[in-house]
């Protein structure tokens, strides 16, 4: 059975965006067996620092225990389900439940139970009743969690995507783990299915009519028209849609050659100077691979990111078939001058999220399109993803792009087809 119709052929049923039955199944089949991005090590500077995050719909505590190890714990008391942590962030040595007082250490261990001896009289095996602890892995500063014991390792889960994720987390100068998160996770709700967001970040390059207004206004800081700073670069490149068999996708420019820096931030000379220097350092550090300039992508199913002056990681939190909560972490280069950090921060705020001049129009369209998924007649007609079909190359145009990736150059709905194909595999099994 194919739930999503024929995604490889560019035909996707509308029902997958509106059926609450399929939504419930998605949580089990698509979200539960996956790895989730839950934060970044720069959020946890000191032992005891914690921050709440989400794995699928679940609230989790991401906490740094004594010695620096990071744990991801299900934020639900084993006694009667109460969230044991009720603050967005803070520093703690123990989490004590406000309902009946069970308390847990930073590894989730149930260390305190009122009336443990005289009440439970040996009948409560505390080792069995600790907070549910996720498998946790750190990848170049990014923190990942999975509650599924049968999921592959994070590295296997990512596959060739490790290249792009590492690249994302490298500073503009190509140094590993070169970013830090600024204060304040941006969180909001939108009235559309999470997959509208996912497919957009996976690579919806034909949606420029959405952004007529910001293109008209030149919101980039390149001093030139368009909304992207990198649009100012004139060096020849191939625009690549890079799809991974695990459902991850990447949008990237592959420049034909290593070329000198071209101004992308002319509006703020200090920033332009920083990027020039970084550009050169990166070429030195990465060599030929510095030709790769990522623009954004997703780690299947719901982590999404942008680069190119808007370095952010986000998650689409599935609330219902018709509602999604969005969280965004804003990244700035760890070692950049303050003016670079400020400029990027400001650029992001004006670009993305509910206050962002660009993404406001994306979300308007996603939420309006959402209504087209429920009607008696309209839902009988599938969506179309047939742009640029049948031309994917494996491990192309450079083998180092990944041995399993399937790549299409130019504007295409290839990445979206791949995303729904992977989704369909999991759902139709």
């Amino acid at each position: 059975m194919s739930i999503a119709a024929n995604p490889a052929g560019g035909i996707v049923s509308r029902e997958i965006f509106s059926s609450e039955t399929l939504f419930a199944k998605e949580l089990e089949r698509v979200f539960a067996p996956s790895w989730a991005f839950v934060g970044h090590t720069s959020q946890l500077a000191n032992d005891g620092d914690y921050v709440l995050s989400r794995v699928g719909q679940e609230s989790v505590i991401v906490v740094r225990e004594k010695g620096g190890a990071i744990n991801v714990l299900l934020n639900s008391c084993r006694h009667r389900g109460m969230p044991v942590c009720r603050y967005d962030d803070g520093n703690a040595s123990v989490f004590t439940c406000s309902y009946h007082g069970w308390s847990y250490d930073l590894g989730g261990g149930l260390t305190g139970v009122p009336k443990f001896n005289e009440g439970y009289r040996g009948g409560l095996d505390r080792a069995q009743w600790g907070l549910i602890k996720a498998r946790t892995e750190i990848f170049y500063g990014s923190i990942w969690a999975s509650f599924d014991p049968s999921a592959p390792s994070l590295e296997d889960y990512l596959g060739d995507m490790t290249l792009y994720l590492r690249d994302l987390l490298q500073g503009p100068d190509g140094e590993d783990d070169g970013y830090e998160v600024i204060g304040g996770i941006v969180k909001w709700k939108m009235p559309s299915n999470w997959k509208f967001g996912a497919e957009n970040f996976s690579g919806d390059h034909s949606h420029y009519p959405t952004h007529l207004s910001v293109n008209r206004l030149n919101i980039s800081l390149s001093g030139k028209a368009e909304r992207h700073p990198f649009a100012a670069v004139k060096a020849p490149f191939k625009f690549l849609n890079i799809a991974h068999p695990g459902g991850h996708t990447v949008r990237a420019n592959l420049y034909e050659a290593l070329t000198p820096y071209e101004s992308m931030w002319a509006a703020v000379p200090e920033v332009d100077a920083y990027y020039k220097e970084a550009h050169e350092a990166r070429q030195k550090r990465l060599g030929d691979k510095a030709r790769l300039y990522s623009r954004g992508g997703i780690v299947f199913p719901n982590m999404h990111y942008n680069t190119g002056g808007r370095t952010t990681i986000g998650i689409w939190i599935p609330v219902s078939a018709h509602e999604t909560e969005v969280w965004r972490w804003l990244f700035v280069p760890r070692n950049a001058p303050q003016i670079v950090k400020d400029t990027l921060r400001h650029f992001y705020m004006r670009y993305a999220g509910p206050g962002g001049m660009t993404e406001q129009d994306d979300m308007e369209n996603w939420s309006a399109a959402q209504r087209g998924t429920t009607g008696t007649w309209s839902r009988r007609h599938p969506f179309n993803y047939q742009l640029s079909p049948d031309d994917a190359h494996r491990a192309w145009p450079e083998p180092w792009l990944g041995k399993d990736v399937m790549v299409v150059a130019g504007v295409s709905e290839h990445n979206q087809r791949s995303f729904y194909t992977r989704w369909n595999e999991l759902m139709s099994a």
Partner: protein
């Protein structure tokens, strides 16, 4: 009352009225979509800041809202940015505002907490009701702190808006506060 007391009382009342009239005029400009005139109410070097709220423990109130010019915020910008936002709306191609919102802004409890030589610090509450299409509806309620500069007319030199929401319950902040 002595004549002097009267004069002082009257002056205080007139100042209060002036500021209330300023805000009433402002909400009328916004709700009538006279955005260009609305921009004129801001000084050229004005800042417009709306932080993000976090849920924090009782003993960390200073951490409740993100910081201006440092953290992620809903808005943290200048008049040039506000101008771009206005230019975006009036073009007819900013889909999140096309068709346009119908908004109603109400300002209450105007409190001149400091009346300096050339500047006033004014607190107020703002209630915003926004409707688009048939069912795209937002309600915002905010606490505002303004620095008003006194010249020929009043102008906003700095505006802070505190919303109550931590997770924003709107897909777009396409109105002004």
């Amino acid at each position: 009352m002595s004549v002097d007391t009267q004069a002082a009382g009257l002056a205080q009342l007139l100042l209060q009225r002036e500021v209330e009239a300023f805000y009433t005029n402002e909400v009328e400009l916004l709700d009538d979509r006279r955005f260009t005139e609305w921009l004129d109410l801001f000084a050229d070097d004005a800042r417009y800041w709306m932080p993000i709220a976090r849920n924090v423990a009782f003993d960390r109130p200073e951490h409740e809202y993100t910081r201006e010019r440092a953290d992620a915020n809903w808005f943290d910008e200048g008049k040039d940015d506000l101008t771009k936002r206005v230019q975006q709306i009036v073009g007819g191609d900013h889909w999140a505002e096309e068709p346009r919102s119908r908004t109603i802004h109400a300002v209450t409890n105007v409190n001149i907490v400091k009346a300096g030589e050339g500047e006033l610090t004014v607190h107020s509450r703002i209630i915003v009701s926004q409707h688009r299409q048939d069912d795209d509806i937002n309600h915002f309620v905010g606490k505002r702190i303004d620095l008003l500069r006194r010249g020929a007319t009043l102008q906003v030199a700095h505006r802070t808006i505190y919303l109550n929401q931590s997770v924003l319950l709107a897909k777009g902040l396409t109105t002004f506060f």
